[in-house]
C-alpha cells in the first residue's frame, strides 16, 4: 500500500500515465472480450480456446503483411475471414457433438484444442516473437506518451461493441441468438433451427476474433503463448461483466486493465495481475451474476 501512496503523492504524472495506459489496455481487453462474450456469454458455450484463435489470425495477418507485403487493411480482412472459418470449424467439429453434455466437457474439449494450437504454433513457427513493423506515430499529451495504434484499437473496440449491441437487439438473427441462449429446446419447438443460429453466432464470434487480431498485431508481437497470456483475463472479463452483458464486459475490461496498469507501476506487472485475479475471485463469490447483476 505504501508504494501506491508514494506513487500518488510523489509522482502524479507517472500515475496519470499508468491510468491512461490502463485505459488503452482496457480497449484491447474489451476487444478480445467481445467475441468471447457473444459465444460464452450469450450462447453459453465454453470456448477456452478463444484467444488462441485470435493468435492464429494474428499469425496470418503477420505473415501476409510483414512477409508478403500485403497492405494492412487487406491482411486484416483475411484475418477476419480466417476467424470466420475457425469459428464455424470449432463449432461443427468440436462443439456440436458435445453440445448437450455438461459445459465442463466443452471446456475440456476446447482445452485440448488450445494445447493443439499452442504446440502446433510452436512446432511450425517456433517461440519467436513476431511483430509487424509499422511506423505509427506516438502522440504526446501533456508530457504523457500514448501509442497511436492503441488509440485506434480503442476507438474501434467502442464502435464494434456498439455494432454488436445493435446486431443483437435490432436484427432478426440477433433476436434468434438471444432466444437460443434462453432456451434451446423451446427454440426448436417453435420450428426454428437452433443449429443454424449456433453456426451464425460462431461465425460472428470468429469474425470478431479476426477483428481483434488485426488490431492487436499492430501493437503486440505474436507468439504461440499469446493466448495463454490473454486467455484467462478475457474469460474473467466476460464473467465479471455479467455473461452476455456487452456493456458490463466493457466496464469490466477497464476496471481490470486499470488495476493491472496502476498495480504494475506501483509494484510489479505480476502483482497487478495478482490483484486483478484476486478481485475476480472475490467478486465471483459476492456477485456471481457480474458487477451489474441485481442481487437475488
Amino acid at each position: 500500500v505504501s508504494s501506491l501512496v508514494d506513487l500518488v503523492v510523489n509522482n502524479p504524472l507517472l500515475l496519470a500515465e499508468a491510468a491512461l495506459n490502463g485505459l488503452l489496455l482496457g480497449g484491447v481487453l474489451a476487444l478480445l472480450a467481445l467475441g468471447l462474450n457473444l459465444i460464452f456469454g450469450v450462447l453459453d458455450v465454453v470456448w477456452i480456446v478463444y484467444v488462441d484463435l485470435v493468435t492464429l489470425c494474428m499469425y496470418l495477418v503477420y505473415f501476409l503483411v510483414q512477409v508478403y507485403g500485403w497492405p494492412l487493411l487487406l491482411g486484416g480482412l483475411a484475418g477476419i475471414a480466417l476467424g470466420v472459418l475457425l469459428g464455424i470449424g470449432v463449432h461443427l467439429l468440436v462443439i456440436t457433438p458435445i453440445l448437450n453434455s455438461p459445459p465442463v466437457n466443452q471446456l475440456l474439449a476446447t482445452g485440448g484444442l488450445l494445447f493443439f494450437i499452442q504446440s502446433l504454433a510452436t512446432f511450425l513457427w517456433t517461440t519467436d516473437h513476431r511483430t509487424v513493423r509499422l511506423n505509427l506515430p506516438t502522440l504526446e499529451i501533456g508530457g504523457m506518451f500514448v501509442s497511436f495504434a492503441r488509440l485506434v484499437a480503442f476507438a474501434l473496440a467502442v464502435l464494434v461493441m456498439l455494432g454488436l449491441y445493435l446486431f443483437l437487439t435490432r436484427t432478426y438473427i440477433g433476436t434468434a441468438i438471444r432466444a437460443v441462449s434462453q432456451d434451446r429446446g423451446a427454440m426448436a419447438l417453435m420450428g426454428a433451427n437452433p443449429q443454424r443460429v449456433y453456426v451464425v453466432t460462431s461465425a460472428v464470434g470468429g469474425a470478431l476474433a479476426g477483428v481483434a487480431a488485426a488490431l492487436l498485431i499492430i501493437q503486440y508481437s505474436v507468439h504461440p503463448y499469446f493466448g495463454a497470456a490473454f486467455g484467462p483475463i478475457t474469460f474473467m472479463i466476460c464473467v465479471l461483466g455479467g455473461l452476455g452483458n456487452m456493456l458490463g464486459a466493457f466496464v469490466a475490461s477497464f476496471i481490470l486493465s486499470e488495476i493491472i496498469s496502476i498495480g504494475g507501476v506501483a509494484w510489479s506487472t505480476e502483482m497487478g495481475y495478482v490483484i486483478a485475479f484476486a478481485l475476480f475471485i472475490v467478486l465471483m463469490f459476492i456477485r456471481p451474476g457480474g458487477i451489474f447483476a441485481r442481487r437475488q
Binding site: 465442463v104 482445452g111 484444442l113 488450445l114 463469490f285
Partner: protein, 328 residues
C-alpha cells in the same frame, strides 16, 4: 483373480530396478519415477474431478507444496520431512479458503473451473512477483546436501526415489479406493448430480465438498514436494499456473477419471508418447507431442468420455455405466 494379478504386477514393479539394463537403467528409472509422481498427482485431482468438481487450478497446490518445502529447506534448513507437513497444511488452507466460498455461494461446473483457474494463476504470479526469495521465473535449485541425505531427502541414486514414488503412488490408489468404498462416494455422486436434491435428503453438501477438496489438495501438494525433491529444482511454469494444471487434467481425462487406474494409464501414455517423440525426432519436433495429444484429447472428450482405461474396462466387464459416468 484381479488381486493375484495386482500382486504379481506389484512384485514386478518392486523388482524392476534390479533388472540389469546396462546404461539404460538411469533413463528407464527416470521415466518410471515421472510416471509414478504424475499419476499420483492425477489421481489426487481425479478425487475431485470424478464428482464434477473440475479444478483447473491444481497447479496452485502443486506449487504451494513444492515451494514451501524447498524454501523452508533453503533458508531455514528445515528438513523436508517436516516441510511436507507444512506444505500439505498450507495447501489444505488454500483449498478451504477457495472451496468454502465456492460451496457457500453455489459456484459449480465451469464457473468453479474458472475460479480455480484464477487461483492457479495467482499462485504462479505470486511466485514470480516475489522473485527476491523464490527466484522468480528462473526458479530455485534445492540447496544440495551431499550425495545421499535422509534429513534433506536428497539422493543421487534413482532407486531410492523409485521406491519412494512407488510407495506414494500406492498411497494415492489406497486413498482413492477407500473413498470409492465409503459413504462419501455415494454422497458426492448425489451432490455432483444435483446439489439441491442431495441437500434435501440430508447430505451435508459443504462438508463433503470441502473434505474431498482438502484431501485432493493435500495429496497434490505431497506430489509437488516429491517432484521437487526428485528434480531438485522448482520453477513456476512447471509447478504452477494454467499449463501444468491443464496437463494434469488431460492425462486423467485421457486415461479415465472414473476408474482407479485411469489416471495412471493416462499419465503413462502421455509421458511415454512425449518421450518416444523426443527420442525419435529429437529437438526438431518440439511441440509435436503436445500437438498430438491435444488432438487425441479432443477426440476422447467427444467419443470416449470415460477414457481409455475406463472404456476398455467397461467393454470387458460389460457393466452398465455408473450414473456419474453417464452424466459426463
Amino acid at each position: 483373480v484381479s488381486r493375484v494379478a495386482g500382486l504379481v504386477l506389484l512384485a514386478l514393479a518392486a523388482a524392476a530396478p534390479l533388472v540389469p539394463m546396462g546404461g539404460m537403467r538411469e533413463y528407464v528409472l527416470h521415466v518410471i519415477i515421472q510416471i509414478f509422481v504424475w499419476s499420483f498427482i492425477g489421481n489426487a485431482w481425479s478425487l475431485m474431478g470424478r464428482f464434477g468438481l473440475v479444478s483447473l487450478g491444481h497447479g496452485a497446490f502443486l506449487g504451494v507444496g513444492a515451494y514451501t518445502t524447498t524454501l523452508l529447506w533453503n533458508f531455514y534448513g528445515l528438513t523436508p520431512w517436516v516441510g511436507m507437513l507444512v506444505a500439505m497444511a498450507a495447501a489444505v488452507v488454500l483449498a478451504v479458503v477457495v472451496a468454502y466460498p465456492c460451496s457457500r455461494f453455489g459456484i459449480v461446473g465451469h464457473y468453479f473451473a474458472l475460479v480455480t483457474l484464477a487461483v492457479g494463476e495467482v499462485v504462479r504470479l505470486l511466485i514470480i512477483a516475489e522473485r527476491d526469495w523464490t527466484g522468480g521465473s528462473l526458479g530455485v535449485t534445492l540447496r544440495a546436501a551431499g550425495d545421499a541425505s535422509l534429513v534433506a531427502l536428497q539422493y543421487a541414486d534413482k532407486r531410492v526415489f523409485y521406491y519412494g514414488s512407488l510407495g506414494v503412488w500406492l498411497l494415492g490408489l489406497y486413498v482413492w479406493h477407500r473413498i470409492d468404498r465409503s459413504m462419501a462416494r455415494a454422497a458426492m455422486e448425489a451432490i455432483g448430480e444435483d446439489e439441491t436434491a442431495a441437500a434435501s435428503v440430508g447430505i451435508h453438501v459443504s462438508r463433503f465438498k470441502l473434505a474431498i477438496t482438502a484431501v485432493s489438495a493435500a495429496l497434490t501438494a505431497l506430489g509437488g514436494v516429491l517432484y521437487a525433491q526428485y528434480i531438485a529444482y522448482v520453477n513456476p511454469e512447471t509447478l504452477a499456473g494454467v499449463g501444468v494444471s491443464l496437463r494434469i487434467v488431460f492425462a486423467v481425462v485421457l486415461g479415465g477419471m472414473y476408474s482407479l487406474l485411469g489416471p495412471t494409464v493416462g499419465t503413462a501414455l502421455t509421458i511415454a508418447l512425449s518421450e518416444y517423440l523426443r527420442i525419435t525426432f529429437g529437438v526438431h519436433l518440439i511441440g509435436m507431442a503436445e500437438t498430438i495429444y491435444g488432438l487425441v484429447l479432443v477426440v476422447f472428450i467427444i467419443f470416449l468420455p470415460a477414457g481409455i482405461y475406463g472404456s476398455v474396462r467397461d467393454l470387458l466387464t460389460r457393466r452398465r455405466p455408473s450414473p456419474a459416468r453417464a452424466a459426463a
